[in-house]
Every structure is written in C-alpha cells, then in structure tokens.
Symmetry: C2
C-alpha cells in the first residue's frame, strides 16, 4: 500500500543499495549467531586463502582500512582465531596467522553465508542467478581497477 517513489525504484543505484541493505541484514544476523561480523570473515578468509600476512596486506586484500584492521585483528586475537606476532625480518611489521579455532570459525561462517545466499536470492532460477552474478562481477570489476 505504501508505494515507493518511482524515481527511486527505477534507478539501478537504488536497487543495488537497497538490496545491499537486506543482504547486510541477513549477513549480520547470520554472523551474529556465531559471534562475529563482516570484517572478521574477510580477514579469516584472506588468511586461509593466502596464508599468514601483515595487517597492511590484509587490509588491501579485504578492502579494509588499515586502522580498521587493527580493531578487527584485536577482536580475532581475543577470540583465539588468529595469532599476532612481530615479523622477525621486518621490525615494525606484524605477522597474523590463522589458528585451528580460526579455521573452524571460518567453516562455520561459510555455512552461514551459503544459507544467506539462498535467503537473499530466494526463488531465483539457477540461470538467472548465474546471470546476475556474472553481471555484478563484471560491473564491480570496472570499479576495482587495480
């Protein structure tokens, strides 16, 4: 009954940002159920895929600001999901390492995320789902040049 202005609904920027709102809520709820949030997942994923890394590297790979990596790693350390040790070669640099518990947490979060995809895309046919993913990937790539 309460209609949204057409100026909004017909613009891709509205569709994307509003759908992102719902996606973030689903992700947030899922991650909350395992005591985590988005930044944690990104960092655990990067550590699992590329191995131990400095905080600056993590920030670049995860698209997280250096300063925000500090806080997230602090929390992950407190939960025992990563270790932070000074890099012996590089004086100032830290080496962040995934722990066994961290890998298990990552698996839990993966399961949560898989469920989220289904909730998010709902009854979208597999073909449309693939098309959507392809188009989004293509557009996003043009905004992440380097």
């Amino acid at each position: 009954m309460e209609e949204i202005p057409e100026r909004l609904t017909e613009r891709p920027s509205w569709l994307i940002t509003q759908l992102a709102v719902h996606a973030r809520k689903l992700v947030f709820d899922g991650f909350t159920s395992v005591g985590a949030r988005g930044y944690h997942y990104r960092i655990l994923a990067a550590l699992h895929e590329y191995g131990p890394a400095s905080q600056a590297e993590l920030g670049r790979r995860c698209r997280i600001d250096r300063s925000d990596v500090v806080a997230a790693v602090n929390e992950l350390v407190a939960q025992g999901f990563v270790d932070r040790t000074p890099d012996p070669d590089h004086g100032r640099r830290n080496k962040v390492t995934l722990t066994g518990a961290g890998a298990r947490q990552l698996r839990r979060m993966d399961k949560v995320l898989d469920q989220v995809q289904d909730d998010l895309l709902g009854p979208l046919p597999a073909e449309d789902r693939q098309t959507l993913t392809r188009l989004l990937t293509h557009v996003l790539a043009r905004h992440e040049p380097r």
Copy 2:
C-alpha cells in the same frame, strides 16, 4: 596484484554489498556537490510524487525510520526545500510540503543521479543493463513484501 579471496568474490552477497559501496560513494559525491544527502532526495521525491504527507508516511514510503525523518526534515526546512506545518485536522500530525526551491533542488538531484547511473554501470550494454535492472527489481521485491 592484491587479490581478493575467492570466498568473497564468488558470493552474490559480497558482489551486491561491495557494488553498493561504490554506488553510495558516487551518489554521496554527487549529492554533496549540491549540498544534500540520500535521505533528502528520497523525501523530496516522495513529496513530489505523492504530494504533501505526514512524517510517518514519508518514512514508510522512503524506507526511512521515523526518527531519522525528523532530522532530515529539519535540514530540509532549514534549507527552505520543504515546509512543516501542523496538520489542522490531525492534532499531533505534521504536514510536510514541497516548496518551489525544493522542486528545483529535486531536479538538480535527478540530473546528478542520472549521471551516477552511467558512471556506475559504465560501459554495460543497454541490454545487459536492462537485464540487471530486471533481476535486481525482482529479487528486491521479494524482500519488500508489503
């Protein structure tokens, strides 16, 4: 060179939320150049399309929380883009009305947004653009039931 973990890039929820980050930045920059922000546009658009409304109505139509409508309308009043008068029929209710300056501001923001769509979707062929819009609309509709 700095690769993003596949776990992220292959998931639609990541694609949508990350693309939304870029969309928000484009919209933010554009709106900033005319001294406004997202909430302002939504409210001006709703007033233009449906005429004067109460703040609660605006909130429902624009997907903005009641409490946030208060602040946004305050700002719009201060800029002279809307008028807020007590509803004569309804004691507690306010009637928010678009002014001439508000309508002009809305047109400015419309132009900004049109440019943003091009920047956002880049060189996506018209057909793909339409497909993307259709799919996004469809998925979003399932998350906005009523």
